[in-house]
Symmetry: C2
Subunit: 233 residues, 2 copies
DNA sequence: CCAAAAGTGTTAGGTTTACACCCATGT
DNA sequence: ACATGGGTGTAAACCTAACACTTTTGG
């Protein structure tokens, strides 16, 4: 293979903003950095792009290494490229955000990486421009969730409507009317009511629902308007 | 400065999908490639990222070199990274799309680059994965224009409502009801009616409008819903 | 005077919001 | 029996879409 002459080759990294929901609040999966410099400081999960990998592959590898999970929802967020963003060497980083069902992932939290789920409020300091990346990811998540049923990716297979509302309220840091919320959600036809109830969060119990995968895939790109007054956000 | 050891450094390019509107239809600014291989084949405008440049800077430089324009609307589209996407050498390319007022740019079309405005229907073959980039850019433009007043960036300072509708109809390849369209558009409060009329396109003449820059900036990120039945698209 | 494009109003249907009470059950 | 959270209905305001006729003027 020939090459382009006299051009600068640059390190390319992938960083993943991994959101999870524990039923109460939104969390981020962070690690304590393993290499010097800045060893021990909090950081997003990431890695350098390998010779024969696409960015999508790279992001999937990063996630799989850390969580063991595959087939997780992931989306390219943005390519960050300020020349001095990495203090060691010039690196551009393409950030991806991932949504994972925190329940499905209770395994070893890869001791090896000192990974932890950290509440989105009160994040610790992060290295480089990772804080900016997280801010962008939050913005994008809010934007997208206002229009598309993306937040289901954060929930387990079976979930209740109050749980779902809780999640939306967490993401938008507001309270929604439960009558309007459940009507809107159910009217999409995306949910299939189950016979069983979740009895953990109330005495009466709340019915479980499952996603109708077929309709979910079909309507994923439709504009659905789950939250009231979206222009407030 | 120290460096990361044993990591692969990769060529990083910036490619720009430049949309323009000539009053009739949407066009793309393409060039005939200057370097071998594939010399003379149609290509997006692009360049390699320089040592001390951010991607945003790189994209702005590319655009400025070709058109002489600055301060143009631009947005990062996506980082394309298939290992074999460039047949010469592995390169990742971060694509940006730009919207420019074709009138404001009637100058030399930089003979030097063999640039041309090409109609979006019936594009020629493009090198590498540039066709895919264009397809993504079209998708993004439609998506975004359904929600935000982004298409004004393609119009001259003064424009008429029928011209604006024309543009929307071009982007969505459909016809909209002019009564509903003008009501929606005017109800945003974004437009300021001028005294003068455009008499080129009709005998009666159509009033010119200008953007209220203040309100435009304020409402740019609001959800505005300019087109009917957005879920059709 | 005619063709061509601009401009404008109404109504019906649907969607969104605000709001309050009853239900089931574990303690 | 009571506290807790789950579940449901209605009416008013608003928004969207469908639809047709009049105006202006250059040729």
């Amino acid at each position: 293979m020939s090459r382009y002459l006299k051009q600068t080759r640059i390190l390319v990294a992938v960083d993943c903003i991994i959101f999870g929901f524990d039923g109460q609040e939104l969390k981020l999966l962070l690690i304590q950095r393993g290499l010097e410099p800045l060893k021990g400081r909090w950081s997003l999960v990431g890695g350098f792009l390998k010779e024969n990998e696409s960015l999508e592959d790279g992001a999937a590898h990063v996630l799989q290494q850390l969580t063991g999970l595959q087939g997780v929802y992931m989306e390219q967020l943005y390519a960050f490229s300020k020349p001095d963003r990495d203090s060691v060497e010039r690196t551009i980083s393409v950030a991806y955000f991932a949504l994972i069902d925190l329940d499905q992932y209770r395994q070893q939290l890869s001791e090896e990486y000192h990974a932890e789920w950290v509440s989105l409020r009160g994040l610790p300091d992060l290295i480089f421009d990772h804080k900016e990346m997280v801010a962008e990811a939050k913005k994008r998540l809010r934007y997208k969730a206002a229009l598309h049923p993306i937040l289901f990716e954060l929930l387990p297979d079976k979930f209740t409507v109050p749980q779902l509302q809780n999640l939306y309220e967490g993401v938008y840091d507001s309270l929604f009317d439960k009558r309007n919320f459940s009507r809107k959600v159910l009217s999409t036809g995306l949910l299939v009511k189950q016979k069983s109830k979740d009895k953990l969060n109330s005495k009466k119990g709340a019915f479980y629902y499952k996603l109708d995968k077929r309709k979910y895939n079909a309507k994923f790109h439709s504009f659905l308007n789950f939250i009231p007054n979206p222009n407030k956000f």
